[in-house]
Symmetry: C2
Subunit: 106 residues, 2 copies
């Protein structure tokens, strides 16, 4: 569930969101976007959690070019439009360059 990512540098898209009350079509679209992202060039992994109304999804990418290509993907563009129109009350998307990482496992 914690993504296995390569040595930095690589990139992350952080999507922090608060959902609206409109459930229609959301779960299917969210799952389809995860499935589709996994097939994109440069995809490295994803982590997602939601509690008390706040959702956080982190997707990891090899390069900024990979992020831009995924942003321009036709189905992803349509889903984002629906997200703004119906599924989200508010969200912030941040793009960042991962510079270092440290993992612990028991």
């Amino acid at each position: 569930m914690i993504a296995t990512t390569p040595e930095p540098p690589y990139y992350v898209v952080m999507f922090s969101s608060i959902r609206s009350d409109d459930e229609q079509g959301y779960a299917e679209a969210a799952q389809h976007m995860l499935d589709l992202a996994r097939e994109q060039p440069g995809y490295l992994g994803v982590e997602s959690a939601r509690s008390d109304g706040l959702g956080i999804t982190l997707s990891y990418w090899q390069s900024e070019e990979a992020i831009v290509a995924w942003k321009r993907h036709a189905e992803h563009s349509v889903a984002r439009e629906q997200g703004r129109a119906r599924w989200y009350e508010a969200f912030t998307t941040r793009v960042a360059k991962v510079e270092r990482s440290y993992s612990f496992s028991r």
Copy 2:
């Protein structure tokens, strides 16, 4: 609940974790660390969510120096040690530079 952050660039510490079964002292320590982080120079905000066992906490900072200073804080160091010894099954910490962001609000 979505952190209000300034225009990039700024920094983020992404903490992705899977908890152990040991609950003793965890909730109090986690809350104390959030309270303490808020008082540190360069602190910009925090977002946190947990579901299906995966927790994600994003803390935002003005500079890498602010992150290093917080990492070296005595109480934070003790809490991290306890985290490795008792509270976490596994975690990954990533430090990244936020390069751009976009917000939507209904």
